[in-house]
Symmetry: C2
Subunit: 347 residues, 2 copies
């Protein structure tokens, strides 16, 4: 199979992967919003043969967590977390003669070089972060770190995106708890703009712009929660109702720099914040995405986008958004709900 093709808009700095490997007929698009019928979950224990061999699994052996990998002939069955290649990858590793960016007149393209992996977060189908055990979620975060560390070591990889789609309306085609990891040969535009601005701010002031934002939001009315290591707030210009961002308080450009106690604190933070969101809005669909880069002036974080409204003609056509829920009010609701979650799970 040939690699997918990436294409850049005639004018905008906007890239799209034309994933023709997943090519469909027009009729496949009719009522695409219907729930897919899937009798057997390919991510549940016992069905390991429904996916390619795991790139790695975590297993518990004599009370310790071990990392192993499957082979073509052997799949581990006793896994706690499992990382597998996506069966329908948008990005694929290089083989022979791949092309970098090509430009002919207004037509700019590149091979969709990279990786597309899935982290199965638990053997338990419904162990989503909002209800997960902290110990399990800590393993998931270790798996994110392992995955990002490995993928970003390839010279053709410019960015690694770790993101999660929760619920059918947020684009999750399988309901088993899982995260996707996509490594791309370009720095996507949203992160590129953040990197550029954080670099120029650093050059001007010798300070991190995100550290400044954290300081301003820490004492304010958009604060939703904080722990020793993390701070959670609804951003000033929230695009989505109940949107919130999670930042490590310590300046770190990627998750690769986290210490074990920070990983555990992050697990707890995700658990109570996504649990709080779940309790306010009856398990709403949402997406989250990590933003991180190796640039030292950058400050990694997670952005959580509840899927409670539809981006329509204005949003799609102009990039201007309407949000009917002020972040100051969203944070008020989240604050209470997160506190309740915290009391529920204890310390």
């Amino acid at each position: 199979m040939p690699l997918n093709e990436m294409r850049k808009d005639y004018i905008l700095n906007r890239w799209v992967v034309i994933a023709s490997q997943r090519k469909q007929r027009p009729s496949d698009f009719v009522r695409a919003s219907q729930p897919p019928k899937q009798s057997t979950c390919p991510f549940c224990p016992g069905n390991e043969d429904m996916t390619p061999p795991a790139i790695f699994v975590y297993r518990q052996v004599n009370g310790k967590i071990m990392k192993d990998r499957d082979t073509n002939d052997f799949r581990h069955k006793d896994w706690l977390v499992r990382c597998v290649p996506n069966l329908y990858p948008a990005f694929s590793p290089p083989r022979d003669g791949e092309a970098g960016i090509q430009k002919e007149d207004v037509f700019e393209s590149a091979d969709a070089l990279g990786h597309h992996q899935v982290i199965v977060e638990s053997p338990r189908h419904d162990e989503h972060p909002g209800v997960a055990q902290i110990a399990q979620l800590t393993l998931v975060i270790s798996a994110y770190r392992d995955c990002v560390g490995y993928l970003s070591s390839h010279e053709y990889v410019r960015y690694v995106s770790v993101f999660r789609n929760h619920g059918l309306d947020a684009g999750a085609s399988l309901s088993h708890a899982h995260t996707q990891v996509i490594a791309t040969p370009i720095l996507p535009r949203t992160v590129a703009e953040e990197v550029e601005r954080s670099r120029s701010f650093w050059d001007e002031t010798k300070r991190c712009i995100f550290c400044d934002i954290i300081e301003k939001e820490e004492g304010g009315q958009r604060l939703a929660w904080q722990s020793d290591k993390f701070i959670v707030f609804c951003p000033w210009a929230s695009v989505d109702p109940f949107e919130f961002w999670i930042f490590p308080k310590r300046h770190m450009s990627t998750i690769l720099g986290m210490a074990p106690n920070e990983e555990k604190d992050l697990a707890r933070t995700l658990r109570v914040c996504l649990g709080g969101l779940r309790s306010i809005l009856q398990d709403p669909p949402y997406n989250f995405a990590f933003h991180m880069t190796p640039d030292g002036h950058y400050h990694w974080h997670i952005e959580v986008y509840p899927k409670l409204s539809i981006w329509a003609g204005l949003e799609k056509g102009t990039g201007l958004f309407i949000n009917v829920m002020p972040p100051e009010e969203a944070s008020l609701n989240l604050r209470e709900a997160i506190k309740s979650e915290e009391e529920k799970i204890g310390s």
Copy 2:
């Protein structure tokens, strides 16, 4: 009621209107995707009192089209097209003491000065452009022109967005055929980027970049349709499956420059193209948005985004898109379907 507030992201050039006038409780967001129950259509003839007085209506008087307006005490009942203020406006005209852009540290904001109007496209509830009479659709396009002309004359208006949401999944909260027109005090980012690039290209080459694109796409495999005056193609880096763009062949920066025969040709173009889309995909939800500015180097056009997939964590988090339908294949399907529509309606 105070004006809504616009806010800019800490870092990105991305604006959001915090529409607190439409403030809702958390419970209002639960299952927001359920069809709203509305027994009486506020846009159907006879229910004119359910909207504010019309800013203008088109009526047929002695075989000629007349333009009139409602008053507080009197609403026209015999209208063909009706333009009314949105009952829940995101943007509102100035009253007293409005503030321009204000910036305090990382917090940038502005009053949401502008207008938010609705064009009711027909007295017939279901006369959407894909099935409309050409004569009716020609009136709708005249209404767009009237609306844009009036709104862009205000000194506090920097951009006028004309867009249409079709179907519940594309954000249409009312099913009666209608278009929205929003005038904003800023130039939204997507259009701003196009303007900037088309200006720099013009400065370098003394040519319009869009005229160049049209020339390149005219003979190619992404062409979906063309008439005397308009050309329709699936863009090279289509973000959405079956996305297509409609350009006037003649260089014009806004729709205000259209001649009557061009308006009629555009009506026909919209009719056959949206009719073709409708027939391939069983009346799919879609959005369309006009892009236009008064800048002479710009070239106005319409972008049509069928809503057949979900923007998930990757798209929302990074601004990088995956499209499973190559535009070359979408255009092939659209081409046939549009031709059938053309034969159906005759010339």
